[in-house]
Subunit: 480 residues, 2 copies
Amino acid sequence: MGKNEKQFVEEITPMEVDFPQWYTDVILKTDLVDYSPVKGFMVIKPYGYAIWENIQSYLDKKFKETGHKNCYFPLLIPESLLNKEAEHVEGFAPEVAWVTHGGKNELSERLCVRPTSETIICSMYSKWLKSYRDLPYLYNQWCSVVRWEKSTRPFLRTSEFLWQEGHTLHETYEEAQEETLQMLNIYKEMCENLLAIPVVTGRKSDREKFAGAEATYTIEALMHDGKALQSGTSHFLGQHFTKAFDIQYSDREGKLAYPYHTSWGVSTRLIGGLIMVHGDNRGLVLPPRVAPIQVVIVPIAAHKGNVMEKVDELYNELKSSIRVEVDDRANYSPGWKFNEWEMKGVPIRIEIGPKDIENNQVVIFRRDTLEKQKVSMDNLKETIEDLLDNIHNTLLSKALEMREKKTYTATNLDEFKNIIENTPGFIKAMWCGDEKCEEKIKEETGATIRCIPFEQENISDKCICCDKQATKMVYFAKAY
Amino acid sequence: MGKNEKQFVEEITPMEVDFPQWYTDVILKTDLVDYSPVKGFMVIKPYGYAIWENIQSYLDKKFKETGHKNCYFPLLIPESLLNKEAEHVEGFAPEVAWVTHGGKNELSERLCVRPTSETIICSMYSKWLKSYRDLPYLYNQWCSVVRWEKSTRPFLRTSEFLWQEGHTLHETYEEAQEETLQMLNIYKEMCENLLAIPVVTGRKSDREKFAGAEATYTIEALMHDGKALQSGTSHFLGQHFTKAFDIQYSDREGKLAYPYHTSWGVSTRLIGGLIMVHGDNRGLVLPPRVAPIQVVIVPIAAHKGNVMEKVDELYNELKSSIRVEVDDRANYSPGWKFNEWEMKGVPIRIEIGPKDIENNQVVIFRRDTLEKQKVSMDNLKETIEDLLDNIHNTLLSKALEMREKKTYTATNLDEFKNIIENTPGFIKAMWCGDEKCEEKIKEETGATIRCIPFEQENISDKCICCDKQATKMVYFAKAY
């Protein structure tokens, strides 16, 4: 280990020693994010924001392909609107920020900074919707929301975060149900195809569902430390809100009817997942399709001969289809640069010096496997494109392998507790469906039901907690 | 005038009768925007938001091409930070929304919802910036801001609006000055090239500049009713904020220095300008490059022969490079559809029926000139692309002509008042530079100095107000 490398590695606490500290070291040292002067609020720095932009543009395209349109609803919601759906207000009122003054004047009604927009959007839908011909409503907005959290961690749980929230209305129960699952599938596909994160899909238990939902569906990912991350949710809201907000339309028979309703969202939390699924003790490992910089070119002996000329040539060749940068800073050594870009998780590094040019080759370093190889300069763009795909697939397989290794089954509570304490991960177990068992397990172990997976297995006939007849197999885990 | 047409036209108040009502009719009836349950806040509907998305993607590309990166800073700013720059707090404190409670707890310090982000961003820059090597800082964010306005109009002045705000730091005065003007030029170019809106560029008077700026530069457009719209601003902030926030770095000589600072922004207000520059008594007229739908295809006698087949063929041919939609709604007549799409300002309508197919032609209607013509189906994509460019150029010329027609010169106050009362528009006049004259003119006429244009003319030697030696030619106007 060279001096430079050591210096870098020492900056990041090894994850085996202290996983939370490893996470904090990585996000701060790689310039993804910083703490702000307001407790619980984060500043997303350019390198972190560029990841979010890639997630946005991927999803926005999928949303539009499936007929959704973007719009924008107000940031502030009157207290009386928030109060209209009983379960919703109970769930959100304790964690909203209240605006009480505009300029020097006290407001006649408090306004909350949106924690989510069902209420304000439903109040508008109620005004707009007239006929079955107007349906479906397929709208989405990209914005920030505020939830007053007591204990926060950048990306994972912050008092403000960026997200998208889709809000749709449909004529029939079935159509709304289909939409709910379609959007869940788009999230799942995005996690796998963009972020290289495998997810378990399923339904939330009633205890864990969204405040006001009839059913919440979720994608759950497993982190390096064996904790689960709820990475996106899609809610089937039935007619809970449409009745509370009196959204009625004239149906095909000319009668007044309430539409069926869905909402769904993913947030900057995904960036936290990205870090905790792929990162290692050198720092970030970014999957190529979401990496702000996919390839960094580091010139060796840049002052010599035609090195910079060749570097420029290469850069110009790659940049049409690859997010590539040249690190030509004169005041840093190549070794220093290598370590910095490794820490920042750039998938591929190209080194090019006078000897490489003589041999018509470059040195390629893969961040994911830490392998170095020499490749020909001929058809370099195709080589790199293939390699980026290969890296994506390798990362996805590795993450899947890790998840499978950390997925256990338990048939009794002792086994369950033993796993949680010694080898945390997903635990597949049978459940009777009673909230009391769910709560007891949470109290005794800290683990919650992450989801009732679509893919059911019959592990045993008895509930892991009460020994009564089990009705479903569920995934338990401690979670972020 | 057919019955359908009449019905539509009657829905919109003619602009000559009541311009503000015309504006309100147009924005509501074309589904750009709606009023929300919170006074002064607007809902941007999908058709309006799609215009904003086109502005965003155009500008975001320009920002990135000039080296800027996006990031995200918190929505809420502690009162103590807002108070740090004296002029700034004086300008903004009276119009901010205050968050006083998080959940059930009163906060120890009030937080304002950002009215603009100089203060929170400078507090972070002060933490981050170490060396001249880190400069320049070229950052931007897309977000919403809140300013508690008493009198509001959708897009033009609302208590919340969407915008982008660039915040940059530089080593030298000259470099910051260059950045300020570079961004102003990007705004000007965007107005002309995307929105087909010609603008006058120049500097704001000290009275009209941004609270805390050393100099504010502006782009000013003229609306149909002769009122000006400040359409974008770029501020040279000097060291006002960098000193107030103690942003220091180690310069090339190793000494501590304060950087120079700029900020610049445009907002959803541009959409208001778009409407009031190009719209007519039938509704919106959207310039093609920013129009959410550039071409609408309306089938005639859709049930007959191969009409829908041909429509699909056409649609598939155009959609690779043109934002095209087919209006195949069965429950509306072609005439009804024509009027609706005219009202919504779609630049080109294509009509296609059995006879057109026989003759291998389509009927093309231009929204800007209201002209209909028959064109061959051969090379239709090229024909349409050329026509879209032609429409853009025609709209820009027309707007320029309108502005020139409504730009006057005045050499004394009587002339000035006569213009303002009878033929409102831009008034070019000489000014001594004294704020007292500026205020007197505002009091007596309602007109303000829109800018001290870069292109100076010598109209006379005397200030239009006090007859003393004039130092500059300025543009006056009543403004939104």
